[in-house]
Symmetry: C2
Subunit: 150 residues, 2 copies
């Protein structure tokens, strides 16, 4: 078990790598049927004539799976991972059936709260890549982080 | 059936309202078990001592359900809803078990592509509200949109 991290344990530029997980066609279709039922996320044949050119995961599926990779990674903050907001979310390339995804977290900025001495904010760049090392998602997130009791 | 929309059919300031859907505690826990297995998304008792003060949906669950509200709404674009990116995503208030969510889409900006005459970009503000009319998510998204053949 990695001990949970306080703001004081992090430094700008620090990186964390997640394990990897495979997204298969069944999972892509199942998520899409529930949350994003569009032809290019449901059916490979129908997807061929679209912008995607073949079955692709919903961007929200890639984002949700990335969250799972983070929760299982060593980027464990005291009190858990509570998003204060996303400043940018991009999907430069689709996630395809069978893609094995992994995430890297880079610390961009650490800001102690002015009003609440027990917490602060960490701004991170989360890059999700497929097995070829190509970026399928980049996300800049602000996450609540506790401060080490003095 | 509402006919699918081209860039030329939209104007800045135009609004679309979705239907509504309920997120119950089972759905919150099921999504969290798969994508965001943290105590405050899994167990009401454990959630009480956290920042959330009680069971709350993962922000990615609120985002994914919002996508479903959009897909089922009258905001139907030719070629479907393909996100080019999210410029801002905020969760000002948690989604709670039993919340009935609905989304409103407001057209912020319409930009024809310079290089591709058959398409452009629509920038929208998507506001997700609970049954009390409180905002649980705001999202500024850029979506690919086709241009009406001349």
């Amino acid at each position: 078990m990695t001990p949970a991290l306080y703001l004081e344990d992090l430094s700008v530029g620090q990186r964390f790598a997640s394990a990897s997980r495979v997204l298969d066609a069944d999972a892509i279709r199942e998520f899409a049927a529930r949350f994003d039922p569009q032809p290019f996320h449901l059916d490979d044949e129908a997807a061929r004539s679209t912008l995607f050119g073949g079955l692709a995961a919903s961007g929200w599926h890639t984002a949700s799976l990335t969250m799972r990779l983070l929760v299982d990674s060593d980027f464990k903050l005291v009190g858990g991972l509570v998003g204060a907001g996303i400043d940018e979310l991009r999907w430069p390339r689709p996630t395809r059936p069978g893609d094995r995804l992994s995430a890297e977290i880079e610390v961009l900025e650490l800001t102690p709260s002015r009003s609440k001495p027990d917490r602060g904010m960490v701004r991170v760049l989360i890059t999700t890549s497929n097995q070829a090392g190509e970026t399928v998602q980049s996300c800049i997130a602000r996450i609540v982080i506790g401060r080490r009791p003095g």
